[in-house]
């Protein structure tokens, strides 16, 4: 983000709430509170230290009010930007700006969803659009399917290549003790699975789970004295191209191009410097589009890039090492969980799925129907 200082703020505490299918009656805000407590414990701070709060939810429109009520604190600074699943990557940039400006010193960013327990329809209000709703698209899947159809038409991308994304995610999930889906998965399985919105089968689509968590941010100066190695915010960028899929200028090019370029510029790094990518894989086409737009391969070559295990464990580029929204956890708005995984990988805490070189992580959030893109580049002390 222009005007934001590289490495001035850091993520110092991270934690998931309960995931998957949570205990009956737990509320989304219960999960935020769980995440907050665990993330504060992770870095050795307490609620008394917190003076900045950020939150966005599908199940509570005024979620920041709910978070303040629940935690019983009066923050000096709040943020509640709602861009869909990428909200939390936006919050990181906003928290970094607030910390740098002295508006707050310790910020907590929280999320929680019980969409699996209460059902998707209950968890997310349907909005009527007179120019789209009458055709009964199955949103969000059909929007991503339209983008996939265009990518296949323009670049010869195949359903097999889309399936490779799901297979790689599953292989990572098998190394993650808390992943929801760990059954072996083949390209053939993905192709034969129940069709949702062609060319996307149910295995090309993210899970529907409960879940949430929190991250704690503070200044680089304060970060040094805390329990765990800080993950410094080296770069932030965003690009919002539309809200409705009909208004997306080019279905094969996302706002990740702009968000990535801005974040790289601030970080003074490029795709070659990133040791891993944690990106929002709501659908298999996302991974292909974002790897292209973030510069990991040329436009149109994403299908070939993800094939042959290149983004799976042991491949050329570790992508979505937690198993992704496709196999690990997808609680409605998944963007906070990729930040958590990026930080844990930088710290070297990831056990069987730990990537060997772990100094720089590209974390990329997606919101809406390829609408709101936000990139955050995180780095260890060695990158400062």
């Amino acid at each position: 983000m222009d005007g934001l200082k590289r490495g001035a703020a850091a993520i110092v505490g991270v934690a998931e709430s309960d995931l998957g299918q949570v205990a009956e009656g737990l509320s989304p805000m219960d999960l935020v509170a769980q995440g907050t407590q665990r993330a504060l414990a992770d870095c050795g701070l307490t609620l008394k230290d917190v003076d900045g709060l950020f939150c966005a939810m599908t199940q509570q429109r005024m979620s920041i009010n709910g978070m303040i009520e629940y935690l019983g604190i009066q923050p000096k600074f709040i943020g509640s930007s709602m861009t869909g699943g990428s909200s939390f990557e936006f919050h990181v940039a906003q928290a970094a700006a607030a910390i740098e400006a002295g508006l707050c010193n310790v910020a907590v960013i929280g999320y929680g969803s019980t969409q699996r327990s209460v059902g998707r329809r209950q968890a997310s209000a349907r909005e009527f659009n007179p120019y789209e709703t009458p055709y009964n698209p199955f949103f969000p899947s059909s929007a991503y399917a339209l983008a996939a159809s265009r990518h296949m038409h323009q670049y010869g991308t195949t359903r097999e290549q889309l399936a490779e994304v799901a297979v790689a995610a599953r292989k990572w999930a098998q190394l993650n003790p808390v992943a929801w889906e760990k059954k072996p998965l083949t390209v053939e399985d993905v192709l034969k699975a129940r069709m949702i919105s062609h060319p996307l089968s149910v295995r090309d689509c993210c899970l529907v789970t409960d879940g949430g968590g929190a991250i704690v941010m503070t200044s680089a100066a304060r970060a040094k004295s805390l329990k765990k190695a800080p993950a410094y915010v080296l770069g932030c960028g965003h690009g919002i191209t539309h809200m409705n899929i009909t208004s997306m200028p080019d279905l094969t090019v996302t706002g990740a191009k702009a968000s990535g370029e801005t974040a790289y510029k601030m970080a003074n790094l490029g795709p070659k410097d990133c040791d891993m990518v944690q990106l929002y894989d709501a659908f298999t086409i996302n991974t292909i589009l974002f790897l292209e737009d973030l510069g990991f391969c040329p436009k149109g070559e994403g299908g070939a890039f993800v094939s042959g295990g290149n983004i799976a464990p042991g491949g050329g580029l570790p992508v979505n090492t937690n198993g992704g929204g496709l196999s690990y956890c997808h609680p409605g708005m998944y963007g906070l969980l990729i930040l958590i995984e990026g930080v844990r990988q930088l710290r070297g805490e990831c056990g069987a799925r730990q990537v060997k070189k772990h100094d720089v992580a590209m974390v990329h959030g997606n919101g809406g129907v390829l609408s709101a893109q936000a990139s955050v580049i995180l780095g260890t002390a060695a990158t400062l």
């Binding site: 120019y131 698209p137 339209l146 159809s149 038409h153 899929i245």
Partner: protein, 126 residues
């Protein structure tokens, strides 16, 4: 900006009732605007002219929705020749035969009851 006496949506729907596919044109931007609105998204100008489309276009993207119950159906994005894109569906052919690049032409679909008419498309005669 003066107050609106008719909403962009009401004007659009009134054209559909007459069997016309209407869109807006922004003289300031020299290009078509869709969906109908009160401001041009390219210039910020509030001068938007209504025009009637030839109703001819090309399939830009397509999907087949598989509902939990009932038959699969098409949803497509159509690029009209005047330079605007809209969501619609292509009828009279099975959904798997709707292809990107296919030439299509507009007709109005009237669901009846309280529901507004909507534009749908059929393949142009070869």
């Amino acid at each position: 900006m003066p107050s609106e006496t008719t909403s962009p949506l009401a004007t659009y729907n009134a054209h559909l009732e007459k069997g016309e596919l209407a869109y807006q044109f922004s003289p300031a931007a020299n290009r078509a605007v869709f969906f109908p609105r009160v401001l041009c998204p390219y210039t910020g100008s509030d001068r938007l002219e209504w025009r009637v489309s030839s109703g001819r276009g090309t399939v830009y993207a397509t999907t087949i929705v598989h509902p939990a119950e009932g038959q699969p159906f098409n949803v497509a994005l159509i690029d009209c020749d005047e330079g605007f894109r809209l969501m619609s569906r292509v009828e009279e052919v099975p959904p798997e035969q709707v292809k990107i690049g296919m030439r299509v032409k507009f007709r109005v679909h009237k669901p009846g009851g309280e529901e507004a008419p909507i534009p749908v498309f059929t393949p142009e005669a070869p």
